[in-house]
Symmetry: C5
Subunit: 353 residues, 5 copies
């Protein structure tokens, strides 16, 4: 999970509205799903070949979902056939976009990041999700293939579901809600990682742990940067005065706003904890150094004086009366043992081991 | 005391308003207490078996208190029989809810955390408390069995008490006041822990102390995150323009707001102190290391040169005139003692011991 | 100087307005001073025995000052006889109150902390000061006996003084000004302490110094927490639209506001400096450790190789030609001295001593 | 990349509007390019010699671009002939100007920094760019020769381009967009540097790395200080109510605002990461010290006791029975090996190597 | 450069408006300069003896500048003869005043700090500058003798200068501009000091450097505290709706506001850098310690094992076959050299020297 602003500079010197896909090169086939629905009917169609696609056929309420942005001609065609402002189409293709809400005369345009995890490895992946809300439908775009909207489709198939009975604004809410629900999953994974890092911190202090903490911190910063503007624009969506959002939908947007506030709160807490982790790592290192130093000091301060004593009686002076004394050797051992025991008791008293 | 956002992701893909209890699985029996009261009458009834419960019997002012959320059918029944919006009922059951106030057309809905301690061990426990204020009563929900509203009930039994004489808004205030009063208890326990940690800091520097400080910090962060939105919504409750809150009650809400500001101030101070504790721990470690190093340095720098001197006269050169000298040995002892004393004086001057 | 939120939890479960004095138990006699004054008359009376006190006797403008809150019946009596709202009387007695301004229909109620120092020891003491401004007078309460209002009284005795010529709002301003003037004294004492701590930092690095800095920091945090809300409410007092504050008094309140801003600025600066002190302490420790390590390293790296040389010629091999050489011993001394001098020059070059 | 406020003090004591060029002394020839354009015509002219320049000749829409500010008489002449306020001309010449937008009666004046890199060495250079938007044209000034507006000119030559069809406000937008597009390039270079610094951090910890991080931090601070006010004034440009900005241009300015927000977000993240880098450097140092200490401790604690043993049997006491023992020497070797192996196992258990 | 709040507490207990000069005791003669000017006339007069001074003589526009506040009777006299509010006069004399703007009915009162440096030693000095703007003139006060307004006077003497042609508000602007221009000089000196500190940081790490950084930080904090409120009040001066400020002057005040924002930005950057310096100092210490430790470790770990080997063959066992061996001594030297070389290679590989 790492953002790149790199791709943006490829556009230096181009006029605004130039259609260039700046995301990572994808190889999967772009898939366009067109869902026509009303209270009575429901029809889902995957339009593999953009040539065979006839937008004028669309009727009551329609949800066009595009998975994959790397065939810009498809996006462009959709843009033209629905009268979308060129700046919107440009933003859809620019995957380094900051989350935002833009109000146009006849549509609302939203960009946010969509997070999901690959189940096996618990890696967090993300891609850009854009949504255009027009009065008779929703057009949504995602970069990759990951289908997080399957549950939405399932609910749509049920004629009793609220989606079928209300307008396109409720569908837009439902899609955004699906995206935001996955944010909770990300915060959980983050929480797991922080807890794992915390456990390591009190057992292992290798430089790899430091590197892990730093990466964790960067990811949290990235998450923070991604989630904060979402909170901002959902907040303003709640208060927006647009004919595209019906009053009855406001209560649901407020609910969504609640969720996103809860997420940003959690991410803020993560930030503080990650800073704390760095401090703990550092204190842990000092602790370990202390322990090492104590061992060195205990051994050295016991044996250095003793070695000195042995050295003294290794001198070759001709006249050293102790050397001749019958009990000199046992006596010197006695002194050595006394000094050693005294030192040990002293260090014990100082709680050094 | 630790929050989990885990339970929220279990709801991914469900429509809004889906009734799922996401809190920890509880085993106690859900207890519904219905209190009917007016200036002249007071009647309290525990409705153990939800089947025998007849909500239409309720009369003048009523306080329905539900202890335990794990039997969702009870909550659902109450919701339906009182015409509560499904999103409210969903929020009541979602115990990972952020504290908030929501204004609906005919009711005010508040969620906050309720803190209490188990007397013996001074552990802080918390659970979610939700309150629905309607014009002719209050419906309140808590997750567990802990009865912190006993004093409220006692006062209600007194016909002279203000609760009996005024409307449901005053009862709502009284319940929230009871919850907030327990926050003070939590800040006291926290203060005790911080003081205990401070005392440890200047005596013991084991890694456990570091871990304690880190846990303390996390708890303070959690408390902060829980209390801050409460301040926010009580502040807006004071200024709210709702027919459900009578003007005479505003002065009491202001009093409540005062309390919650005092609590958030205290928690802010705790945060700063906890950061400081980490620094002190670290400085304490350095201090201790310094002490260890000084002992090593004093011993080593005294005896290493002396050992060298002894080593010199342990050499086996044939022509070493000193060795033959009559007073060589005593003289060398004199030098050794002089060097040692000089070193000791030097370290004493440097204040090393 | 340390705050306790402890006393607040003693009130858990009591109805609002319950009259309980929560401060430290005081033993001095509660003293009630009643000062009646107008442009022409001035009369001061100490009412020792509350029974003999007749509040209805009060005439033109009156200042009732109560020193000591531990006899709640006196406070209660005053409250009732002047028609004070029970919540105000409760707040007067709750000495853990946060500084605040409350606007009631017929009075303004202010709470702030009063600081003073015991001259001898430079300890900072504080107690709660509350002030009720009604149209025809001021009622003020303090916890202890310390009389910081003596200069005010002196000025009141002078018939030419502004206090005598204007209304009760000017008296309230004068009292608050007297309290705030003492804040400057506190910031001076703090500044002295910080400077003392700074001086210690560069000479002594014992753990006591660390503890002192930590206590200093806590005191500054407490001061900050106490002074900040005062700034807030004096600021709103300046803009208040109340018949109790005459327009002519606004310019004086602005002056008071200036003072309190200056104090909060100073306290903010103190906070930053205190954080800096901790860093300096830590750097000082590292510095000292460095010095210790250098001594150890210089001594050890000089003598360890020399001891090795001496050890070599202390070996007992039968065939060691150097040992037989006539100039072996002087030559080995030459080598030893050369090695030692070289090492010293090396360390000198590295600036180690 | 380093800012100097130095040049400003050279102006102390001068009246406002004094025309003094305060930037670095440049030696290149000042180049004035006059571009006249409308939907049908396009004419570009480089006016090398200011004397031959006749401003009254200018017709439909005009873009005057001045590269180089060090010949103040040229700037002054342009200012007078177009009726520019002297304070604007002063600000154009003062290259230590803070980015800002100023609204005058008949023109909008904008100052911002222009960043570019010398391709070979990846150094970031910057200079001041000022722009005066009047109703029938744009006058722009830059300090140096670097031509970042070449792509703009290319687009202008195309009669189909939007620039040709709309007013001077769109040209101003286009120029600012070109400047802001280069900011992305700067953030990329910064990101590269941060990543390079991160990699170093986990391999090399020389003081040069510390110095690099510090310089990086200063550059990020400078970038932050330069970019933040640009965000401020583009934001207010979006909401400005000026006849000089046509409504149709607002959507493009919003796009520009988006870009600049994205840049400031990135710079904020850089700031946090750079702080983190310092911490990591410090922890890395502690880690390395730990490693060094462990080596010392392992070697010293193994050999110091062994040396003591050898020292004991190097003593010259007359009566040392072990020395006479046939197997004394092999036995002592056995003890030495046992002690050594035991120590190694102990350190292995402690994970020291 | 260090602020003292000390003098303020000398005023405890005095009524507001009491005229006491609280600044440092100055000994220079107070100098009052009266400048009368209009478009046609200009007259400057130094009024040494306050007795001979006749304020009623003043005519068209007048600038009264007082250098020195320590003769309060002069200030008082000026105050009375011009009808200045006593609180203003009190603030003029209170040199511990916070920078501020106060709007009175008939005048604007501004207080700010004036900085200048003694050329020789680059010390920064500061004193209080107060300015009263009335409709027909300006009265300004400074504490000391330093004449920073000489250039203003020079410009005034020129009949073509803007000052002569416009009102008193422009003169007030000019004086404030002169004061603010000197702030740039201060930021330059600060920048020099920071750069000097940075250079030291990478060469010398004595405790004096730490003390220097701490003092630098305190000075920056003081500067910040002094400059921030100036920004605040110049900002509100720009928007003020007062008859004393003519619309034509607003553009100049905006220019002044620009300058002060640039200064506060610079000071903010200084704050961040100074914090960084402390970190670098600390890291530098660790770096140096690392270096010291490496030297110790290299020397000790090479020679300690070698000394052990020498010690072994210094033992006096009767049966040590190696000692008798003809090539024992050369062989042991071989081992010693091999061990030493191996160790050196090992440390070289670890990059320790």
């Amino acid at each position: 999970m790492s953002e790149t602003s790199r791709t943006c500079s490829e556009k230096i010197g181009l006029p605004p509205g130039a259609l260039i896909y700046v995301g990572a090169k994808k190889t999967h086939k772009v898939k366009v799903t067109v869902t026509r629905y009303s209270e009575t009917e429901f029809q889902e169609e995957t339009v593999g070949n953009p040539d065979s696609w006839e937008p004028e056929k669309l009727k009551p309420l329609v949800w066009i979902h595009v998975s994959g942005l790397h065939q810009t001609e498809i996006i462009e065609k959709i843009g033209i056939s629905h009268g979308i402002h060129p700046l919107i189409v440009e933003d859809v293709l620019n995957t380094a976009q900051r989350p935002k809400l833009e109000e146009y005369e006849d549509c609302l345009f939203m960009v946010l990041k969509m997070f999901y995890s690959d189940r096996a490895e618990e890696n967090i992946l993300f891609e850009q999700f854009s949504l255009i809300l027009i009065s008779d439908g929703v057009i949504s775009f995602q970069e990759g293939e990951e289908d997080i909207f399957e549950p939405v489709r399932k609910r749509m198939k049920n004629p009793q579901s609220r989606i079928r009975k209300t307008g396109s604004d409720y569908l837009a809410y439902t899609l955004m809600d699906a995206v935001v629900d996955h944010y909770f999953r990300v915060t959980e994974i983050m929480e797991d990682r922080i807890e794992a890092a915390e456990e390591y911190l009190f057992t292992d202090l290798s430089p790899e742990v430091l590197q892990n903490i730093h990466e964790l911190k960067r990811e949290i910063l990235f998450l923070h940067k991604t989630v904060l503007p979402v909170r901002g624009f959902i907040g303003s969506l709640e208060r927006i005065d647009s004919p595209l959002i019906r009053p009855a939908t406001h209560v649901y947007i407020r609910d969504l706003y609640d969720h996103i506030i809860q997420i940003t709160d959690t991410v803020e807490t993560f930030r503080e904890i990650s800073t704390s982790l760095m401090d703990i790592y550092h204190s842990g290192l000092s602790n370990k150094m202390n322990e090492v130093m104590k061992v060195l000091t205990v051994i050295a301060t016991i044996f250095i004086p003793l070695t000195f004593i042995a050295g003294v009686y290794g001198m070759n002076f001709r006249y050293m009366p102790e050397l001749e004394w019958r009990w000199g050797y046992p006596f010197i051992w006695l002194i050595i043992i006394l000094v050693g025991v005294f030192m040990l008791l002293y260090f014990r008293k100082k709680n050094w081991f």
